[in-house]
Symmetry: C2
Subunit: 240 residues, 2 copies
């Protein structure tokens, strides 16, 4: 926990083709952390579209960001386009080096991996990309939220809400996180028990795996190139 | 359930000062409903800011919306500014009259009430505004998601995700909803049990009630004016 009178700079990375709720789920929490400035940083200040078309506009460009106390890296299909982008990866690495906390959501973990930040780190990501974590030198942990040192990893998509509340508690104490949780009425009641590969009906898991097979194969090919660049020894085929 | 080959027009209302996750939580679900067009409609096509500053841009203006099959009305503090806005209320009423489903999230219910749509209807809203529902002639039901005929009401803020999955099941069947749930990894694990007035620590409930006391009082005064306009007989003081 950080002293309450220490002002925090919190920033989220916004990019074309992200999965919007990787950002907007945590936004609901991060924007309500006491004594903090929260801003959204894009490659530049232009609006982007999420993978399903939601138009979001950054507050500023990454080049204009101060050193952040909390860096939030969301994921989504659009993460692929940044996996070999020296400017964005360099920004993530530089911010992470100076941040008090780094918060990765979903396949934002792959971006952090491409920035060379996951070596030897316990991490998680979306279930469809979970098998790729070793390609970045990470130790995969099949939990919804993984805390490793000053890193918080949230697994897929909506896990960002759970991760953000954990992060809020780490930063400002449990009562601050509970207050935000009450405001946002976060007492979820999913109508079905289909939110994980372990609980979803087999036919639905198969269908959903197929629907992301293309992007998953592309992510694996990219991850292997990144592993070579980072000098990480990888198995012939990623474990499933 | 609607025949799978019937294309659906789904639309969300976007307005200045909404609570962004009232829109973006459901967005994750509504944008993935099979054989549907999903668009965001604003007062006009200008970007708006949510109550905490997130910049969101509509796809089109409400005046340019077709008759929607599914109308989604989010809430948030900014709802207050629309409670006596004839153009927006008229649009909600007109769309609701022709829609197959109407989906209210959080204090979006107050907007639907001001549009005269809640008389005799079982409904819910954010816990801090729950006592205001009778002022619109509604029957308050203290559940996270309330389904009444072709209406789906989600209670506060993040309840929109649960409500949207229920709605997806109503529209396209359980398997479609389960598929979306798996993709978005919606198997929530809140780190605390502080998401409702019943479970939150008393001190946190008191603090949070105080922090929304101003807007709640304003909402009550507005609701009483609306009740008079709609000819709804109301008790002297709204029940708490």
């Amino acid at each position: 926990m950080i002293p309450h009178d220490t002002h925090l700079q919190i920033g989220s990375l916004l990019f074309e083709g992200l999965d919007q709720i990787d950002l907007t789920g945590p936004f609901e929490v991060l924007s309500r952390i006491p004594n903090a400035t929260y801003r959204i940083y894009g490659r530049n200040s232009d609006p982007v579209r999420d993978v399903k078309g939601l138009r979001l506009t950054p507050d500023a460009a990454i080049a204009d960001a101060p050193q952040l106390d909390v860096l939030h890296v969301p994921g989504g299909f659009g993460q692929e386009a940044l996996m070999e982008d020296a400017e964005v990866l360099g920004w993530i690495a530089q911010q992470a080096a100076g941040a008090r906390s780094i918060f990765s959501v979903c396949t934002g973990a792959l971006l952090c991996g491409a920035a060379g930040l996951l070596k030897g780190r316990r991490a998680t990501t979306h279930w469809a990309s979970f098998h790729l974590l070793p390609l970045f030198g990470a130790i995969p942990v099949n939990q919804r939220v993984v805390v490793d040192g000053n890193w918080v990893f949230a697994a897929g998509v909506t896990a960002g809400i759970d991760g953000a509340l954990r992060l809020a508690a780490e930063l400002r104490g449990d009562d601050a996180a509970k207050t935000i949780q009450l405001y946002m009425a976060y007492a979820p009641e999913p109508p079905f028990d289909s939110g994980t590969p372990e609980t979803a009906p087999a036919s639905i898991l198969q269908h959903t795996r197929q629907s992301v097979a293309g992007i998953t194969a592309q992510r694996e090919a990219t991850a292997r190139r990144v592993a070579a660049r980072l000098g990480i020894a990888v198995p012939e085929a990623a474990p499933r």
